[in-house]
Every structure is written in C-alpha cells, then in structure tokens.
C-alpha cells in the first residue's frame, strides 16, 4: 500500500470533562476527496484542530505523507503542506483581498503577485483585489479564504463547512474548484452538514458521533448504515 496522505492513529482529545475526540483512527489516500460528517459536537472541528496543531492532542499520532506531525506548531504544519479553512470565516478584514493572499508569500514579489492575481481570477474576484476583505460579502470572503489557503500550494486540504452560507452558483464554482484540485493530485477532507454536497463530492465518508468514528464508507453505504441513522435521528 502506498503512503497515506494523512494517517491518524487513536487520536484522543478532551476539554475538562468533555471527551471531544475519543480514539479516532483514519487514513486518507492521496488524490481523493473525503467527507467528515456527524451531529453537532461530534468532534469534527476538534479533529481538524488537532491535525493542524491548533489544539494539542492528549493521545494518538498523526502522520502526514508518512512523517509524524503531531507536536509541531501550526505554522510548521502549514508549511509542510496542509492548508485549511475555518468554520467561521477568518479573513484579515483590514487587509485588501490581494494582501490577504500576498502575506503568505516570501521571496520574489513579482511572482507572488502573479500567483495571487491568478488565484483571485480563479474565483472571479480580481476586480475586488484592492478592496478591504472586511468589506466583501460573506460568500466573497469565503472565496478569499479558500484561495488564500491555496497560496502555499498545499497537498492536503481541510475544509470546514465550505458550503455554509454560500449561494448555489458560488457553491457550484467552489465544488468544481475542489474537484479540479483533486484532479491535480491533492487530497481533500471536508466537514459538511449539507448532505447533498457530501454525497455528490466525496468518495469516502467518515462519520463521527460523540468523538468516536462510528462508520466509514462510500456515501451510498453510509446513508444506509443503521448506526449513522441512529446518530442523526435517534433510535
């Protein structure tokens, strides 16, 4: 078996008495789109935070392309090639759309500018490059955050609820973009509540409930899984 893009072994994280992630293991093969679903409070965002180093895990291991990354600082993990977006938008409001992307770069300024403009064109925001990110609409900010994450050309992309609050047209563009990134060989893991999005996009879906992985499989199989139905709708 080839090296996994991301491998998590027995990850555990608690906040005080709350066990947010309880011994989760999962494996992402390179070049595929994965979904992570589960009811509110099931530990999805905490899992993201543990992968990207924002939270320190209590137990367990995280390997990125076969190398352990647990214990590294968030910026070190980002530099290794893991990009993420946040559930709540985190653009830099008093920086322009273009500056939001430029901050990530170092070295050759002209090349950085070209890449930033290319990415803004990619999401049709080139005309708003000089606008403060805080003045853009919610959906536009979401796109800025999305392409800003791509500036470092990450090989693993974690998206936390990309569809939330985005209109259909914009969403279809975004989903197309995600597919194109997958076609370039990147691995994508997304948290999403919109089942249509998950079913239409993901090749494999993990289901979390109360911090534990209760199911894993193709979207079709997941929809039929009794434990999943129980977690969402109750017995």
């Amino acid at each position: 078996m080839a090296t996994a893009a991301l491998e998590i072994e027995g990850l555990r994280k608690s906040f005080g008495g709350v066990l947010a992630v309880n011994g989760v293991s999962l494996r992402l093969e390179p070049g595929r789109i994965y979904g992570l679903i589960g009811p509110n409070g099931s530990g999805k965002t905490t899992l993201f935070n543990c992968i990207t180093g924002l939270e320190r895990r209590d137990e367990g291991r995280v390997f990125f392309n076969g190398q352990p990354i647990d214990g590294l600082k968030p910026y070190q993990i980002a530099r290794q090639g893991i990009g993420r977006t946040f559930q709540v938008i985190r653009v830099f409001p008093e920086l322009t759309a273009l500056e939001n992307l430029l901050v990530v770069t170092q070295g050759d300024r002209a090349a950085a500018m070209e890449r930033a403009l290319e990415l803004l064109r990619f999401v049709k925001l080139e005309g708003l490059k000089g606008e403060f990110a805080g003045n853009l609409s919610y959906g536009q900010q979401k796109l800025v955050e999305f392409v800003r994450m791509l500036m470092r050309d990450p090989s693993l992309i974690l998206l936390d609820e990309p569809a939330a609050g985005v209109n259909r047209t914009l969403l279809n563009d975004l989903l197309d973009a995600v597919r194109r990134l997958r076609d370039q060989g990147k691995t994508v893991l997304l948290v999403e509540h919109d089942m249509k999005v998950v079913m239409g996009l993901c090749e494999t879906v993990f289901v979390l409930d109360h911090g534990e992985k209760i199911a894993e499989g193709s979207p079709g199989a997941i929809q039929m899984d009794e434990r999943v139905i129980e977690a969402y709708f109750g017995r």
Binding site: Y75, V91, V104, R148
Partner: protein
C-alpha cells in the same frame, strides 16, 4: 501629489536642519522634545499599532537606554554618541529577554506584563545604588550638547518614521498586521507569528533606548522616577491613537499636535492641562478610535502609507 508631498517634506526637513542657527534656545529645546516624542510614538506604533499587542510599559526601554547610556558616560567615560547606540542595544537585549516569554500572552495580559516590567525595572534601578545612584539619581559630567543632540534626535525620529514606511510597504509588515487581524488564521497559513512578534518588538525597543540615552545626556541628571514614568507610556499611546495607529505619519502628527497643544495649554492654564489631556484621551477613544489619519484613510480610501 507624491511629488508635492516629497517637496514639502524636503523643505520641512531643511528648515528643521537650519532651525538651530536662528531659533531661540526654548524653540530648539521644544523641537528636540518633539523629535523625541516622534521617535517614541513611532516605535510604540511598530509593535502595538501593527501587531495589536498593546505595550503598556514601553517607557521601560526608554529608561533602560537612559541608564545604560548614563552609566557609560558617567562611570566609564564614554562619549555620548557611542553611549546612545549602546542604550539602543541595551533596550533591544531587554526586549529579547522580556519578549520571548511575554509575547505569548494575549490581550490585556501582555499589556499588564509590560506595565509590571516597567515597575520591576524602576525598583531594580533604585536597588543597585552602587551602579545607578539608586533613588538619589545619577549625574553626568556637565556638557552643553543640546544642538548636536537636537540633530541626532532628529535623525532618530526620521529613521523611525522611515523604518515604519519600509515595514508597512513590505510583506513583513503585512504579516505583522495579520497578527493584529487574526493570529490563529496567520499561524494556519504558515506564518511564524512568535518570531514576527519578537522582531517587531525588538525594532520597537531600539528607538526608545537611543532616545533615553540622548535625553539622559541632554538633561545631565536622571533618577528612577524621571525615566520610568507610566505617564510617558500613556502619552506615546495617546499620540499614536490620535494620529492614527498602523499608519506611517499618524505618530508624527500625534506627537506634533499633542506636544504643541500641551505646551500651549501648559503655559496658559497650568491647572487645566491635566484635565484637558484626559479629555482628549476620552474624546479620541470615543469619537475617532482610528485617529485622524485613520479616518481620512477610510473616508478617502488613502493608502496605509499616509
């Protein structure tokens, strides 16, 4: 526009360079003070205006520089220009030692830690009497160097302002601003925020350190309460908030306007001036938290380099 501005700037600098030849003694001393405030406010702006880490004890670097410079001049017999540079270095060393642990603190905790640092330094300086003269102060050999110090302080003020311009127009400066805007997002994008904060902090300590050593030489006598006063930190903060934090010219505008109005009010209404200064602080915070240039910048969509 840019041309007219550069022309006006050139004329102003030339006038300031010639001023000691025809100005009054009082005028030169007052202008020297304005230079000092520009250097101090501009330095505070580098750490607090750009990264949002509010330093409530920035005068600690001024005091550290003042004592380092004064000790070298009074006890070792160094010349004041060399001692002033060492004053800047001493402040940077202090910033390194203090910044490493304290810049991990967020929001009010960092502000309070810096306030504490200033009090600790003042106590330490009072305690080591053999070196610092303790509470009774430290006298420097008599020397009238006001005019050379005027020029050096002027260069310092210009250097801090130029440094601010260079930082704000660079991607390094943008990264410092991302710390102010959203530190978590900055980290997730691969920005080493701890290192960036420390660099900004070091850069913001050098100016006050040099200014402290120059002031010690100019005044000829320092004591703990004269170089570590909390009021000085507050004045720096108010100047930057008034002029516009995170801009290039905000600290300059704030320093000039507040110093001049303070002198004017001080002379006419000695009892009212504290009250008026307090009223200015309240008015700025309530009515224009972005400061004069911040408001103009937003209203007329001016670049950050104003």
């Amino acid at each position: 526009m840019t041309r007219a501005f550069l022309g006006a700037l050139g004329v102003a600098l030339a006038a300031l360079a010639l001023y000691p030849f025809f100005g009054t003694g009082y005028g030169v001393r007052a202008t020297l003070q304005i230079f000092m405030w520009i250097a101090l406010a501009g330095s505070w702006n580098l750490i607090s205006g750009l990264t949002g880490y509010v330093s409530f004890g920035h005068v600690a670097f001024f005091g550290a520089g003042a004592y380092a410079g004064a000790i070298l001049v009074a006890k070792v017999g160094w010349s004041w220009p060399a001692a002033s540079l060492v004053g800047g270095v001493a402040a940077c060393v202090l910033a390194l030692v203090i910044g490493y642990p304290c810049l991990r603190l967020k929001g009010p905790y960092f502000a309070i830690a810096m306030l504490g640092l200033n009090e600790v330094l003042r106590a330490l300086v009072s305690y080591f009497e053999g070196l610092t003269g303790g509470g009774s102060g430290l006298s420097l050999p008599t020397l009238d160097a006001t005019i050379p110090i005027y020029y050096v302080m002027g260069v310092l003020a210009a250097a801090v302002t130029l440094l601010t311009y260079l930082i704000i127009t660079s991607r390094f400066g943008l990264r410092l601003m991302t710390i102010r805007e959203d530190e978590v997002a900055a980290e997730a994008l691969g920005i080493d925020t701890a290192r960036h904060k420390l660099y900004a902090f070091l850069l913001s300590a050098a100016g006050p350190g040099i200014a402290g050593a120059l002031t010690a030489r100019d005044q000829g006598y320092i004591e703990p309460i004269s170089v570590f006063p909390l009021a000085m930190t507050i004045t720096m903060i108010v100047m930057v908030l008034f002029g516009g934090k995170g801009t290039v010219w905000g600290p300059v505008l704030g320093a000039v306007v507040l110093f001049v109005s303070q002198e004017f009010v001080w002379a006419r209404f000695p009892y009212l001036h504290q009250l008026l200064f307090g009223a200015i602080i309240v008015a700025v915070v309530l009515l224009m938290p972005r400061g004069v240039l911040g408001i103009l910048q937003m209203k007329y969509r001016l670049p950050r380099t104003i």
